[in-house]
């Protein structure tokens, strides 16, 4: 597990809340910092890929871990 600067637990939240919460968390971070996100919405996997592609923030990691989806996003 890579290091991260901030964590967001979006467990139990459904589309589009995980993305909106992540956006909000990233807004309060500085460039180069990493956000660790935990989600349970299976749709979040594709959505975070699309989010990263469109916002320019790097999706460093996306994996399933014990029935949850875990993401690492580096703020651009």
């Amino acid at each position: 597990m890579a290091n991260f600067d901030q964590e967001l637990d979006a467990s139990g939240l459904n589309c589009p809340l995980p993305i909106l919460r992540a956006k909000k968390s990233l807004a309060g971070m500085s460039a180069g910092q990493v956000l660790h996100i935990i989600a349970t919405d299976p749709g979040a996997v594709k959505d975070f890929e699309a989010f990263a592609k469109q916002t320019g923030n790097e999706l460093m990691e996306s994996k399933e871990e014990g029935g949850k989806f875990v993401f690492l996003i580096k703020k651009s």
Partner: protein
């Protein structure tokens, strides 16, 4: 580089149809789009401070009901007084249990993300709506106002 733009026309004022405009607007804003929603006809209900919207099983054949009721429950039964509030309460309960945001929450997220909300002046007058019942930040305009933004937008949706 200027931001991409998303223009939405919201025409429906029910609990179910209130979702698409607010979901797409808030997500678009999160992705860096400038977003404007033009609320017209029944869509204006979505701008009311007290957004008392419901969902009706009456004449709504595409609506899944609990226990597959839509398959065996007589259509006339959906017209029974009280059915609408029962279905609305059940829908809200279901959404809550699945972690779906409430309409109020999504609308707040839109406002926070500076989504521009425009109320159709003509329908406000037509239905004698009181602008004081609307949330703050709403502006008023007509079709030409919509085109001003939509004409430059990358995505334009009619919902």
């Amino acid at each position: 580089m200027s931001n991409k733009k998303l223009a939405i026309i919201a025409t429906k004022g029910t609990l179910d149809w209130g979702y698409p405009p607010f979901i797409l607007a808030s997500t678009g804003a999160a992705l860096g789009y400038d977003v404007e929603i033009f609320f017209t006809f029944y869509g204006l209900q979505l701008l009311k401070r007290d957004m008392n919207v419901s969902v009706s099983p009456l004449g709504n054949p595409g609506m899944p009901m609990p226990m597959a009721m839509d398959k065996w429950f007589p259509v006339i039964g959906t017209a029974i007084p009280g059915m609408q509030s029962i279905m609305t309460a059940m829908m809200k309960q279901k959404m809550k249990s699945k972690g779906v945001a409430s309409l109020d929450e999504l609308r707040d997220l839109c406002l926070e993300a500076e989504v521009k909300m425009v109320a159709c002046q003509m329908t406000v007058d037509l239905f004698d709506l009181d602008p004081r019942d609307f949330i703050e930040g709403v502006t008023f305009g007509g079709a030409a106002t919509f085109f001003e933004f939509a004409g430059e937008s990358d995505i334009s949706l009619y919902i």
